[in-house]
């Protein structure tokens, strides 16, 4: 194995994207993503069984096209990597079954890694010099987490996370309340263009002084959701969808950026990494950049194809583990839908 720049294939199936990525060290060779999003539209959210069935059908074509794009042969791989959690258990198991078979068939080491830490590793593939420690804000339909990364392969701390819905889920639910289609993020964005972010002052979850002791870095979007639902019900038809969309989005963005920069300030870390699919939201990026710059914090945002769930980030994390001299995972691990972020690699001896 090339210890300095290992050739790794990563498999990611924790939600609705079947991601196959291939990296050589920190060089991205392929990032193939097959999404089952369209199949979930009529249900207004990700249906686990639909996602798991789609993974099974998408795997072989995705591996095939990733290998072709990377211009390698599977035999050339130094290692195989896979997400073991957190995520949807049934979906994760499809990727785990495939990854184990690939590793055994090729007689290559297998690295089972943490999805959330994978999001942080994605940043390494941008080709820039990445500096730690950093605060990381990961926002998607499946998670909303604030992390303190001291060392990618050995020291990641969870500062806080959502106590109820993920931010992406909140966007989906509010879109549904406003009669907009799934996925809600882009729809809310579109509607918000016609409205004012100052029109309605929606609550910022867990942002009161009394929340600071126990939930300073945690998030909650249920109160916000209830406030929007009440307004929609009370003013039946007599409100501007644009105003509600813009004001709702402002409340989400405000709380995300405020808590992330608070973490930077309190830990004395002038670096913030953004990851997860919700980073596609332009307002969130703008607000983070503006306020971070005022606070003297450098913001890193990988390209969107590396922010959404993907296999390249899983391969990138495994590559770092290999470079750090870590032994591979034993073959006995399973899916862990609630894998804590402190477990960067699972089942290592």
């Amino acid at each position: 194995m090339t210890r300095e720049t290992p050739l790794v294939l990563g498999i990611e199936t924790s939600c609705d994207e079947t991601g196959i990525g291939i990296v050589r060290g920190r060089e991205l060779l392929s990032n193939t993503i097959a999404s089952s999003m369209a199949e979930h539209v009529r249900f207004g959210g990700v249906v686990p069984e639909v996602a798991a069935r789609a993974h099974l059908e998408a795997l072989q074509p995705a591996i095939e096209s990733a290998v072709r794009e990377a211009g390698i042969r599977l035999e050339d791989l130094d290692a195989v990597a896979v997400t073991s959690g957190p995520g949807l258990a049934g979906a994760l198991m499809v990727g785990i079954g495939a990854a184990k078979a690939l590793a055994v068939a090729l007689d290559k080491p297998l690295y089972a890694v943490n999805h959330l830490v994978g999001h942080i590793a994605a940043d390494l593939l941008t080709g820039d010099d990445v500096e730690y420690p950093t605060i990381a804000l990961l926002v998607s339909g499946g998670h909303t987490s604030l992390l303190l990364v001291r060392d990618l392969v050995s020291d990641v701390e969870l500062l806080g996370e959502t106590l109820d819905d993920a931010a992406g889920e909140a966007f989906d639910k509010i879109a549904r309340l406003l009669g907009l289609p799934y996925p809600g993020g882009p729809e809310i964005d579109r509607a918000a263009r016609e409205g004012s972010a100052e029109a309605i002052r929606f609550p910022r979850g867990l942002s009161r002084a009394s929340d600071m002791a126990d939930h300073r870095y945690d998030f909650s979007f249920s109160g916000l959701k209830t406030a929007v639902a009440r307004l929609v019900e009370q003013r039946a038809g007599e409100f501007s969808v644009g105003d509600v969309a813009a004001s709702f989005r402002e409340a989400v963005v405000d709380v995300l950026v405020t808590k992330a920069l608070d973490a930077c300030a309190r830990h004395g870390i002038p670096r913030l990494l953004l990851g997860g699919g919700v980073i596609a939201n332009r307002r969130l990026r703008e607000e983070a950049l503006t306020r971070a710059s005022a606070a003297g914090v450098t913001v890193r945002i990988p390209p969107l194809s590396l922010c959404t769930d993907n296999g390249a980030m899983i391969a990138a994390l495994a590559s770092e583990l290999i470079v750090a001299g870590r032994a591979p995972s034993q073959l006995t691990f399973g899916a862990d839908s609630t894998l804590p972020v402190t477990e960067i690699q699972v089942a290592w001896p």
């Binding site: 249900f43 207004g44 959210g45 249906v47 069984e49 639909v50 798991a52 069935r53 993974h55 099974l56 795997l59 072989q60 591996i63 095939e64 599977l74 258990a89 049934g90 994760l92 198991m93 499809v94 990727g95 785990i96 079954g97 495939a98 990854a99 184990k100 078979a101 690939l102 590793a103 055994v104 068939a105 090729l106 297998l110 989906d172 639910k173 549904r176 309340l177 959701k225 209830t226 639902a229 009440r230 019900e233 073959l331 006995t332 691990f333 399973g334 899916a335």
Partner: protein, 227 residues
Amino acid sequence: MHAVTLDPVILGIDSSLGTAVALIEEDGVVLADEYSEDPLGHAEVVGTLLRAALSDAAHGPVGGGGATKPVTVDAVAVGMGPGPFTGLRVGIAAGRTFAQARSLPVIAVPSHDAAAAQLLLADPFADVGRFAVVTDARRREFAFTVYDGVDDDGLPARVTEPALVPRDDIDDVLAALGAARHDVVRISAAMVALVGARARAVGRTLTGSEPLYLRAPDVTMPKRVAP
């Protein structure tokens, strides 16, 4: 000592009930046969079973105790269910990916065909008669497939396609079909491989590439947002 093998080697894999992995020579000689009955641990055990099967097979036929010689797998036979979906998919994903990694053909085998073959081949001279392989399908249902003897290709002759029936109705349904009930709690991967090998030898397709789910995805519509 096991002589140098020229017979094609088939890898069989099935996770429709427990997790089963086997390697056989095309003529039926079993080189390795691994099994875990844990009905929930498919993802945990599948890699270990695959590795163990390959390493066992390197010693020649089961019980042969020959010298170590790595086996070359020529095809992968995959049990396509029916069975509980979450576990079923693990074996299919593993089988297909193993085949892809080594550029091998995949043979899709209905898991009940393997169970039927096991019963029919146990004693080739026994008059088994018409019977149904019956497996647990969860949610108070059974999955069943009716068979009647062995056909000219040496494969179990399927009379009905796999189907679901409420548990309370199984005996009436089978009586109406004139089939004896044969409950199965374990699928043999060696039998999956054997059925697959025989089908491949005569160019027959036993089932499509889709798993035999027999049920539409269970969709719990997202809850209405609380007022």
